[in-house]
Amino acid sequence: MWLLMRMIRITICIKSGKLEDFANMKTRIIAALACSTILGTLLSTNAFSAESVNVYSYRQPFLIAPIFDSFTKQTGIKVNTVFAKKGLVERLKSEGKNSPADLLLTSDFNTINAAIDADVVEAVTSDVLSVNIPAQFRDPDGLWFGLTNRARLIVVSKERMTQNRPETYEDLADPTYKGKICTRSGKHNYMVALTASVIAHAGQDAARKWLSGVKDNLARKPQGNDRAQVKAISQGECDIAIINSYYMGKMLADDKQIAWANSVDLIFPNQADRGTHMNISGVVLTKSAGNKSNAIKLMEYLSSADAQKIYAEVNYEYPINKSVSPSELVQSWGDFTYDTLPLTQVSKYRNDASRLADEVNYDY
């Protein structure tokens, strides 16, 4: 203990020398600066207006900001957000019944389940939600509601994969694709959900064999997000990748990334059998919700045609509300058969799937 302090003391002193001369002036400046900013800081974050709703979001700010903005414009209700890729359910759980959060927005189904397991979710009954969201994409008891659908697709290089393309997720474990596949970390929720769906359909052992086969075909250590995998294909590092459908639209809409997207062809896997694996982004009401009526208003808005149109047009997701069609681009990919096994059946294997990734040392 003492030595640690001593060490730190040494660095400090050496780091800084002696700075007495500056001290008086500088400390005053810092103090003045601090006083002025602390007020601003505290006011800007804690003084919520009376009409507001507080959201913990796993979805990226730029994905949902346009929708929240339009909600505020229509209703006058301000939406406050904390965005984090990790840890929000944990935070909700420890904050307990006093948590300021009203809603939790997730980018996949596993997180919805984690929130339910943590016992921080309250059921909602709303006719609007029941009409807007098909029964298979919401909890019968109203604990969770899906907002958008996304397909987990295989993409292949246009140039280098002209024949013998994989048609199913199972094909990806075929040794003919050795050294050709890129994916993100096997412990990421999107990959875990896919593995869990394989467990749900084929069982633990088959899934282990499958995942280990895919691992053996990897061109590089899993890294980056789905977008980074397409980039790697365009750069010739690999030929095949697994990505969520909306990333494709996002890249095509970006000047700098359009070249990546144009280097690949899309494949909707498993069309001949169970269909393509789907995942949802969703929303739950927290038990602690203090602005409950505003929160439900926002939930209803998110499922409304207005918001679903933004999801479809700006984020290229499949709208959950059947009255809204996907964006033109997404429609151009064509209709496809999707896996209809309920997500709850898939998601119960999420811990097993996460462990499988460790067991086959997927991320090496």
Binding site: M1, L4, M5, R6, M7, I8, R9, I10, T11, I12, C13, K15, S16, G17, K18, L19, K26, T27, I30, L33, A34, T37, I38, T41, S44, T45, F48, N54, N80, V82, F83, K85, K86, G87, E90, S94, E95, G96, K97, N98, S99, P100, K187, K221, Q223, N225, A228, K231, A232, Q235, G236, E237, N351, S354, R355, D358, E359, N361, D363, Y364
Partner: protein, 588 residues
């Protein structure tokens, strides 16, 4: 052990610790303490220090407590699968970073202190510049430069007519060796600074004595000078390795599975908080081992005395031709790679994305970062003053221990700290709320959780050791006679602190403030999890953009962090050439 040896040891410890930077005043403090110890043992100061230290230790204790209650026992699974990878990667990373910083840090320090070559004066301070660059920023920059589509590989392809990645071999930066190189580049200044100071403190007479005994040039370096500087080097290396253990941004981006990456996975991926806390405790054990190693490396180096007046500074020998060129190159490499290239890349991105990035959200995050860091720095200073003054008044065992514990926060990785803070804060809030409801019928809600306060607390715990160290070492330079004189004039300890000590330690206070301020600006993992609604800092913005492969948009945020980090480096640089004089004047 021969007599010469022990003499050398004494000289060496003097050189390192008794010298101009006089960072360690424990021995002189003991004298100072004995004067003031006659006061009552349990004054309000002692109580305050114990309470504050207890609060600061809370996150650490709650992590250890949590480790006893995992959701399920993850160790059989981890042991069978990835544990060996986590541990091995962590050890390789630490070892690699240690070797790299050792070679660059001591090598450059030796060159600038013992030789004259073109650019020496410049390198003397320029070698500190990489201090200003956070490890995750340098990782983003080099990934951008060295990936397939980056300028380096594009140039190579154009030059040689290659097309695809499979046409040629190019090492991948997003690997364990890549992570080692990145961390070496930003962490070597610790070793450089400490070993440089140690070399400067070595009297020329020792080298001459060695030479007169017929010791070869090489042996004089490796058998005399380096061993004498060893304690300082070991201190530098321990700090480097603790920073390495703390890192999450770089290893996450490079997909290197270390223990801190594993901690996140178990905690959040497997929803096993207790399991995460167990890994955190394992990390703390690593830290304890480091501290133990540091301690044992200077077990025999006690009882040092201020150095005699026979001290003579070493004369720098002029290097000739190729040797001079070699020395300049050796010193230029870390500066160019660790500062100039990253700064240049960030600047050019900032310029090309300027219109997109120069907006309200940039200003707001900058304001958040600066305001938050300033408040945290002031808090850390206040706590630092309280602890060091209480220790001066009553250096009892309790006070010493609690101060020591409170300083351990520096060694706690930010992610672990976040767990350690969420739990007790929420428990406190909910208890207060329940009590208030029961007795007064009002709900107080969450008072601390999810507020700026939680962040300020996190920063204070994490960086208190730095503030305390700087203030305490300044305070120990004040003669205890001052205290006695003031007491004899009838002043209370509080008045004496205000009228005597604070004006005298303001240099230490400024130092403490600056270092804590800059470190808070860089802090990432705890900020991500603990922040309030609608709250972004520069660091979180950099992380969000860069983890989405949008380095261009993140550049302006990263650049501001680097610029702010430059302030202490510049202040330090203006001083570094004067450190010779400084060391003479403070040798009493």
């Amino acid at each position: 052990m021969s007599k010469t040896d022990s003499n050398d040891k004494r000289l060496l410890t003097t050189a390192t610790y008794g010298g101009g930077l006089s960072f360690d005043g424990d021995e002189s403090a003991a004298t100072a303490d004995s004067y003031t110890q006659t006061q009552t043992k349990n004054s309000i100061w002692t109580v305050a220090a114990l309470v504050v230290a207890g609060i600061v230790c809370l996150p650490l204790l709650s992590v250890i407590w949590l480790a006893f209650f995992p959701e399920e026992n993850i160790w059989p699974h981890l042991y069978k699968t990835v544990l060996s990878t986590y541990v091995l990667n962590t050890i390789i990373l630490m070892f690699g970073v240690a070797v790299g910083t050792l070679v660059i840090g001591t090598g450059c320090a030796w060159l600038v202190t013992h030789h004259e070559f073109p650019g020496r004066k410049l390198f003397n301070w320029a070698l500190l510049l990489p201090f200003a660059v956070p490890a995750y920023v340098i990782a983003y920059v080099y990934t951008d430069l060295l990936e397939f589509a980056g300028p380096v590989q594009t140039l190579l392809r154009d030059a040689f007519g290659w097309q695809l990645a499979s046409d040629y071999y190019f090492p991948s930066i997003r690997t364990l060796p890549g992570a080692i190189i990145m961390m070496v580049l930003v962490l070597y200044p610790y070793v450089y600074l400490l070993s440089r100071a140690a070399f400067l403190e070595q009297s020329a007479s020792i080298a001459e004595a060695a030479r007169s005994l017929g010791v070869s040039r090489r042996a004089r370096i490796f058998k005399v000078a380096f061993p004498m500087a060893r304690p300082a080097i070991v201190v530098g290396l321990s700090l480097v390795m603790m920073e390495t253990l703390n890192d999450y941004g770089t290893v996450d981006y490079f997909a290197v599975r270390t223990l801190s990456a594993g901690l996140y996975d178990v905690w959040l991926g497997m929803n096993n908080l207790g399991g995460g806390a167990q890994i955190a405790t394992l990390l703390l054990i690593f830290v304890m081992v480091l501290i133990g190693l540091e301690k044992s490396s200077r077990r025999n180096q006690q009882n040092f005395q201020p150095m005699s007046s026979r001290f003579r500074p070493t004369e720098r020998s002029r290097l000739q031709k190729y040797w001079a060129l070699g020395a300049s190159t050796f010193c230029a490499i870390p500066v160019v790679l660790g500062f100039i290239i990253p700064a240049w890349v960030l600047c050019s991105y900032t310029i090309s994305y300027f219109e997109e990035s120069w907006n309200a959200s940039f200003w707001q995050s900058a304001l958040h970062s600066i305001g938050l860091s300033a408040v945290a720095a002031i808090t850390a200073i206040a706590v630092g003053i309280l602890l060091s003054y209480s220790k001066r008044l009553h250096p009892t065992r309790n006070v010493r221990w609690s101060v020591g514990l409170a300083s351990l926060g520096y060694a706690v990785p930010g992610a672990v700290l976040a767990i350690g803070i969420i739990i007790p804060f929420a428990a406190f809030d909910n208890t207060v709320d329940a009590l208030a409801e029961r007795f007064f019928g009002v709900s107080t809600g969450l008072l601390l959780s999810g507020t700026v306060f939680a962040l300020v607390f996190a920063y204070t715990v994490r960086f208190l050791a730095m503030a305390y160290g700087a203030i305490n070492s300044s305070m120990q330079k004040i003669s205890p006679h001052m205290d006695d004189a003031a007491r004899s004039l009838g002043h209370s300890p509080g008045t004496i602190l205000r009228k005597v000590h604070l004006p005298l330690v303001r240099g230490g206070i400024l130092t403490a403030g600056l270092v804590v301020f800059v470190d808070c600006m860089k802090e990432l993992p705890a900020t991500l999890v603990l922040r309030p609604f609608n709250f972004d800092t520069l660091a979180t913005q950099v992380y969000q953009f860069a983890s989405d492969e949008l380095l261009g948009q993140s550049a302006i945020y990263a650049l501001l962090i680097v610029l702010v980090g430059l302030v202490p480096v510049i202040l330090l640089s203006t001083r570094i050439d004067r450190s010779r004089e400084l060391s003479d004047e403070s040798r009493f």
